[in-house]
Symmetry: C2
Subunit: 326 residues, 2 copies
Amino acid sequence: MITSSLTEISHPIKNEFEDFSARFKHAMKSNVGLVDLIARYIIRQKGKKIRPILVLLSAEVCGGISERTYRGAVLVEFLHTATLIHDDVVDNAEKRRGLWSVNALFKNKAAVLMGDYLLSRGLTLAVNGKDYDFLGVITNTVKRMAEGELLQIQKTRKLDMDEQTYFKIIKDKTASLLETCCQIGALSSSDNPEYIEAMRVYGESLGIAFQIKDDTLDYDGNYKLFGKKIGADIKEKKITLPLIYSLGNVSKDEVREIKRLIRNGKEQKNVERVIDFVKTHDGLNYALDTASQYAQKAKSAIKIFSESQSRLALESLVDFVINRKN
Amino acid sequence: MITSSLTEISHPIKNEFEDFSARFKHAMKSNVGLVDLIARYIIRQKGKKIRPILVLLSAEVCGGISERTYRGAVLVEFLHTATLIHDDVVDNAEKRRGLWSVNALFKNKAAVLMGDYLLSRGLTLAVNGKDYDFLGVITNTVKRMAEGELLQIQKTRKLDMDEQTYFKIIKDKTASLLETCCQIGALSSSDNPEYIEAMRVYGESLGIAFQIKDDTLDYDGNYKLFGKKIGADIKEKKITLPLIYSLGNVSKDEVREIKRLIRNGKEQKNVERVIDFVKTHDGLNYALDTASQYAQKAKSAIKIFSESQSRLALESLVDFVINRKN
């Protein structure tokens, strides 16, 4: 299977994506010098823009891109940017997309406030446009994202994780926003509940596949471009699907031993032993299979739409997520 | 003039305040263990609850407290709590209201996420209640609060501040939320635009008076209970009204000398010289006079309402803000 690049995938909405970019840039402007400076810096950092692409494609398959679609795309990108900035503060991350993170360059204080600013700025766009349906979806998503991350912290501190909790966490912290993008795109161009539900299922399944794939890269990726190295999750004591599965297939003594290695994960040799353990006990294959099942679910969900360039793009996006190497 | 305590002031809405407290506690509950734990800790920290009191009193003078009023009161308290938690993260504050701050007890990561959670939780209440008028006011306020703080950071880094900028900052970072509380209270019980505007002006003026008074306490307060010591703002290089006024009345050489002392504000003797300078050049009296003018403006704004216990309470609240010693 040949995986297309994101630029190729978004080709059917190339012009609309440029319209979105111009609107996003415009909405980021501020009269406060420091806000404007940070905003222009964020625009320079670029990013893959998967979320606004999802909004645009979802609107397109459901009926067509409208003025409301653009507002939705700008809204989710504001929200996503806000959460990335807060994530970098809480993780003390120095780099983001190959450039300095906002917290590294402008300090934590400005970064936390800038995140709050972007979140509320996005919401004001929806309020001013009277997009109350978007607001209903998005405020609940922000809540789920924070709850998901807090649940992960709680479980991580105790090295206590099972598959059910893992799925709750990744649905809340990752899949919920992709789900929201697809719902907002659908809502902006259709009032057919079947269409909206189909796009919701597509977005959720894509998000789950995306996060599971991401978690397998911690065991099997190349050195991630501009990103983290293999084993970074283990060092942070994050127990993800490959490890959960492997731990479920060994004796209690072995579980205890692996958890001891994770607790002492600062030493590279311990991290490597955990990686070997997961590979030996089939955790990686299990996780990749599971990701593929959700990928399939995403593709099936959008079969109700007639074939079109946009539907094809949404299908290719699923392959892109599943086949990426970093 | 005898200043009443906040409990005395809020006496006319004593029962309604208890109803609010019960609803707030209930809305703070979460199925995620860590979220619930932090929420219960926040409730233990207590706080003066000026903002929900303002919502309740504003509704009462405008026509009467309704179900929507309670939602508004809970919403603003969620929002205020979220911003306090983020403030403590960015200031590295260890204490809040005499107890450990959330960041000190649960670490920065959980604190930033808890702030995001509370903000979105508050907004979902308004969305679910279809209080779109509240949402319009509140999302814009969150944006103004973040912008105001970012403008302050920008100006502080350069020791560059004039009276006009000072007023923009305190209106955005402090007065906007009190203004919003009064607007939301009014909106919840009346659709008379004159009433809503009167309460908006009251809230904004009260907020400005509150912040100016707060800034004078840095030069003239007692050791603030559970709070910061005299001169803390100077150490943080925050230039507020008393200092702005005094700097406007001396030669350029003296301005340069005072700014040099502020830049080297880590030494206590420099801080004390700045305090002396402000007192000698009448900055404290000027700021207190200005605060009194806004206090008067707040009281005048609500003269359009007939006399009642609630109007009296709003008047006493102005005196409380102006006369507090910490």
